[in-house]
Amino acid sequence: MGAEASWCRRRASSALVATFLLASCSAYPVPLGAPQALQFGWLHGNCLAVKSPIADLPQTIYVSRDGEGGDLVEARIVSAVSADGDCQALLADRAGPNRAEGRVFYIVESLQPIDLAIAVLGKGARESLRYNQCFTSEGVNFSVSDGNRVVWEDYYYLGYDVEATCE
């Protein structure tokens, strides 16, 4: 890999093709904009659930409300949830399963109302992804796809019985 990178740098010294060659060399990290640079979570109302703690607050995120990539709206994570009552996902009937798998919860501010939605954190080609959500018998399945590949999925336990819509 080192020799390949060195060869790439030598060839890239020729001015006009430099950008193209640098981007082509496998020794360089995944370019900004790849789905790998993104993280995801789900929201019910203004409460965000993610599986890793978020260090830098406030932080801008993008929210897909209608399941299609074209409807990403900007929102902001402002603080960690301090009381379960601030978060619909942490109501008494549903807190246990939703806290499982290490999920952590944050308060989000948004100019537009949010019901159930997927949050996109980080920088990357979020518009090209497909955002899906469907109901199971007592919860919601959220997923994000890049073409035919599922890049993220998670489950929200509602704690009451609904009609399933997932296929």
């Binding site: 019901d115 018998s137 009451y160 609904v162």
Partner: protein
Amino acid sequence: MFLLYRGSASRKRREADMATKSGKSWVAWADTHAKNSSSVDDLEADFKTKAKAFIKALEDAGAAVKVSATRRSEKRAYLFHWSWKIALGKAKPSDATMMAGVDIEWDHGDAAKSKAAAKEMVNGFGLAVPPRSNVAPSLTSNHIAGKAIDMTITWKGTIKVKKKDGKSVDVKFVPKANSNTVLHTVGESYGVKKLKSDEPHWSHNGR
């Protein structure tokens, strides 16, 4: 006949006067008087025996079992269902059936006020609403019948769990219970069947 009609109408009016109008106070009422249970003892008798035996086998093998829901309150489900329908304009207050022990008046005498009061309940109960949720919370289910249990089962590595016939099975931990088919077969031997779409959900018939 006229007297009979008048008598009936005034009785209905008296009953409506005694009932408590819908609104957010019903959320607090439900949290006290119509709570869901997470106790295995509240399950229907036959399924309780099966669920207890399965849980014992898991715990004997070293798994930790955290039960989050067993029997769900029929009254709570009633309040969820009708508040959702009225708040979203999918039913009129007069469409709501009555339920013994839930003395609620859905009709505020004004359509907008009735909807607003129902919406307070939808918000308080944290119910999912359109555009994503287009079907009202259910009035019936295995949980309401006491024939379903939601539980999170965790352990480290591989454990030996006894099936109902006494044979031990090696069960490896995977984070998603929905995909742990070996665990499903163990549960099934006790008559506790996995619903593969919902992580914590097991029931008498797998639904």
